[in-house]
């Protein structure tokens, strides 16, 4: 019997991977190509044709009188080629020259993979490169992945510090506030991760790490709150209302703007304040760790909005409207929990002399001014005029986040 290729499987049977050798031999041939298969596995004469049948290959049998190790000749069918008819690459493997609108049919296929035609049309509605992407995303992701820290070992939980009861209470109150803010900061990107087209996978990865960051922040702030006692502090209705308006924003650009550019931007200032005024090493350390992560979140939020602002002249109108809308929604609420404000003053005061309290109060006022200045700087970078940036920053929630 003639064949284009001859293979000898030795004692290898189809129960232990013989199909790989047959497949490899067939792969180099066109449909109709012939592979002579020899071997000594006792079941080969049964399994080889059964396997070929399921793959659309034909089998020709040698003359039974012909005594040799030849089991059969496999004639390559067309099914293997047919399966890949109309297949396409899901864009480039590396994040250069990304598709401006990757099609839904690419779905969950890896970017750059050869996709068999057919399959579901996945609905990832955040599929506009200009809306989602920032060139810095891969770099930020790499940084974020490299700087993940272990809450158990990165914090001196065993330090034996002891604080006066009222200072400890102030720390617990601030921690309680931080936890609810981090909770919102976790939920917001988490809601968008599942909507972003996987073509922009570095953005998905970055946001996933951001979510993991917030999870760690929630853990360490909760743990610090309960380190010396058994109760958390208070949560004001107005504070929760402010956070709820963040979580309710379903537009990716607007949510990034409100959360990262305005909220987390201010939060970085708050964490810096706490690093400076922390009364104990645990509080100082966890605030410093969280601040590093939050800075990264702000950088990404700024980067993709800066890019979008250059291609979408109407973006600034939408951002402006979002600030106004949120301001109006929160106009009748109290803003920052008074207990939080007072706790910040106590921490910055460092004592109960009137002069200490006055100094603490001044520090918190300076913090609020620094937050305002930071928001204005970022708004100007997004293209707002300085006077408008000042007006918009003033409308930002008094709850900081």
């Amino acid at each position: 019997m003639t064949a284009d290729v001859e293979i000898d499987l030795g004692g290898l049977g189809f129960d232990r991977g013989a199909h790989l050798l047959v497949q490899r031999a067939l792969a180099g041939l066109p449909p109709g190509g012939r592979v002579a298969v020899s071997g000594t596995d006792a079941a080969l004469g049964v399994h080889l044709p059964a396997w070929c049948r399921s793959r659309g290959h034909r089998v020709e049998w040698p003359d039974p009188a012909h005594r040799s190790r030849l089991v059969a000749v496999v004639v390559r069918g067309t099914a293997d080629d047919d399966r890949w008819f109309g297949a396409e690459r899901a864009g480039p493997p590396l994040p250069a020259a990304l598709h401006s609108r990757p099609p839904p049919r690419w779905g969950l296929g890896a970017r750059g993979a050869l996709l068999e035609a057919g399959g579901p049309e996945a609905r990832f509605d955040l599929d506009d490169r200009d809306l989602v992407w920032a060139d810095i995303a891969p770099t930020l992701y790499a940084q974020a992945a490299a700087r993940q820290w272990d809450p158990q070992t990165a914090v001196p939980w065993d330090d034996t510090f002891a604080l006066p009861a009222d200072v400890e209470a102030a720390v617990v109150q601030v921690m309680t506030y931080l936890v609810e803010n981090e909770q919102a900061a976790l939920v917001v990107p988490a809601r968008f991760i599942g909507r972003i087209h996987p073509h922009f996978r570095e953005v998905v990865q970055l946001l996933a790490v951001q979510v993991a960051d917030e999870a760690r922040h929630m853990e360490v702030f909760s743990r610090r709150a309960l380190l010396r006692g058994a109760e958390l502090g208070t949560s004001s209705a107005g504070g929760r209302q402010s956070l709820f308006t963040l979580v309710a924003e379903s537009d990716f650009a607007l949510a990034s703007f409100l959360l990262s550019v305005l909220g987390e931007g201010s939060f970085v200032d708050l964490l810096g304040f706490l690093v400076r005024h922390a009364p104990d090493p645990v509080t100082r350390r966890i605030c410093w760790l969280a601040m590093q992560d939050e800075r990264r979140h702000v950088v990404f939020g700024m980067a993709h909005l800066e890019h979008q602002a250059t291609v979408d002249p109407l973006l600034r109108d939408r951002l402006r409207a979002a600030i106004h809308r949120r301001h109006d929604a929160l106009a009748d609420t109290a803003g920052l929990n008074a207990d939080v404000f007072d706790a910040l003053v106590v921490l910055a005061a460092g004592g109960w002399n009137p002069d200490d309290v006055a100094a603490g109060f001044a520090h918190v006022r300076a913090l609020q001014q620094a937050m305002d200045q930071g928001r204005q700087r970022r708004l100007v970078r997004l293209g707002f005029r300085p006077d408008e940036a000042a007006a918009l920053s003033a409308l930002h929630t008094r709850n900081f986040m």
Binding site: F14, D15, R16, A42, A43, G45, V46, H47, P49, A50, W51, R53, S54, R55, G56, V59, G77, T78, A79, D81, D82, R83, F85, G86, E116, A117, G118, G119
Partner: protein
């Protein structure tokens, strides 16, 4: 003029049957055939309805083909095999023992306990038992009656027989060639733990049985089935589910071994009546 139409019967041996034929229905209707299907819980009623003219086509097991052929002929009519899957051609069944079994040749099975699939399984009961009988080997049979009426489409009986073999409850087990490979790969049978002591001759499996091959609907149905391409992403998942890469012309030359087994076991009468005493689909 109304579009050519075909009403086909299929047996619901698995929930995927609905997926397959709803998908094919959409594809066939998109190409000018007014196609619909009805599902049966077993093959006997499907065959009755085909021969009685209540459906135009029946996606038949080999056993159902034989009975439809006998019933139609007895009534002075005829049925025809319109198409079959590429995977319906040239199958074999095997009789398998444990690797350490004293059985080395088919004759050694004489007097031993052989596990089979359901009473109506062509591949795991009727054909391999017919093969042993033709070789003059008398065996005791332990049947695994899972999915009776489904003519062996349900793999459960075959798998239970293989499990019984692995557990030492039977001396040998009957199964289709591809399922021996499957059972070893999935771990139902231990790797290198079994030996094949007998293999039947090649036979054919299912076919699309029709009453009126010359009708417009049936002709278009056959043309469209044969035209289904594995390169078409709309039908490829359905072809994968149905286990084929191409529809081929139907042929009826591959059913002799089954017919002999049916006659020898008295499963059906020559006129197509169901005569197997312990068969209640």
């Amino acid at each position: 003029m109304p579009a050519p139409s075909v009403l086909m019967g299929a047996v619901a041996y698995d929930p995927k049957v609905v997926t397959i034929w709803e998908g094919f229905r959409a594809w066939l209707r998109g190409r000018g055939l007014d196609f619909d299907f009805v599902l049966y819980s077993h093959y006997e009623r499907q065959v009755d309805d085909l021969v009685a003219g209540r459906i135009d086509a029946a996606w038949n097991s080999p056993l159902a083909w034989l009975r439809a052929d006998r019933l139609a002929t007895a009534g002075g009519g005829a049925v025809h095999a319109l198409t079959m899957r590429d995977t319906d051609r040239d199958l074999t069944s095997v009789v398998v023992v444990r690797a350490d079994s004293p059985v080395h040749r088919v004759e050694d099975l004489a007097g031993r306990l052989v596990g089979t699939g359901a009473v109506d399984s062509p591949q795991a009961t009727l054909i391999p038992l017919g093969h042993l009988a033709a070789a003059g080997v008398q065996v005791d049979v332990r049947r695994f009656d899972v999915g009776v009426g489904l003519h062996g489409d349900h793999i459960g009986g075959e798998r239970d027989a293989a499990r019984a073999l692995a557990a030492g409850e039977v001396d040998a087990a009957c199964m289709i060639d591809a399922n021996h490979l499957l059972f070893v790969q999935e771990g139902t049978l231990p790797p290198e733990g079994t030996r094949i002591v007998a293999q039947t001759g090649r036979y054919d499996h299912c076919n699309m049985t029709v009453r009126e091959p010359a009708s417009d609907g049936v002709r278009l149905f056959g043309d469209l089935l044969r035209g289904m391409s594995y390169a078409d992403p709309q039908v490829r998942p359905l072809l994968d589910l149905e286990g084929l890469t191409a529809w081929q012309d139907g042929r009826t030359t591959g059913y002799a071994a089954l017919a002999e087994a049916v006659d020898a076991s008295g499963f059906y009468a020559p006129d197509g009546r169901v005569t197997a005493p312990d068969y209640r689909p």
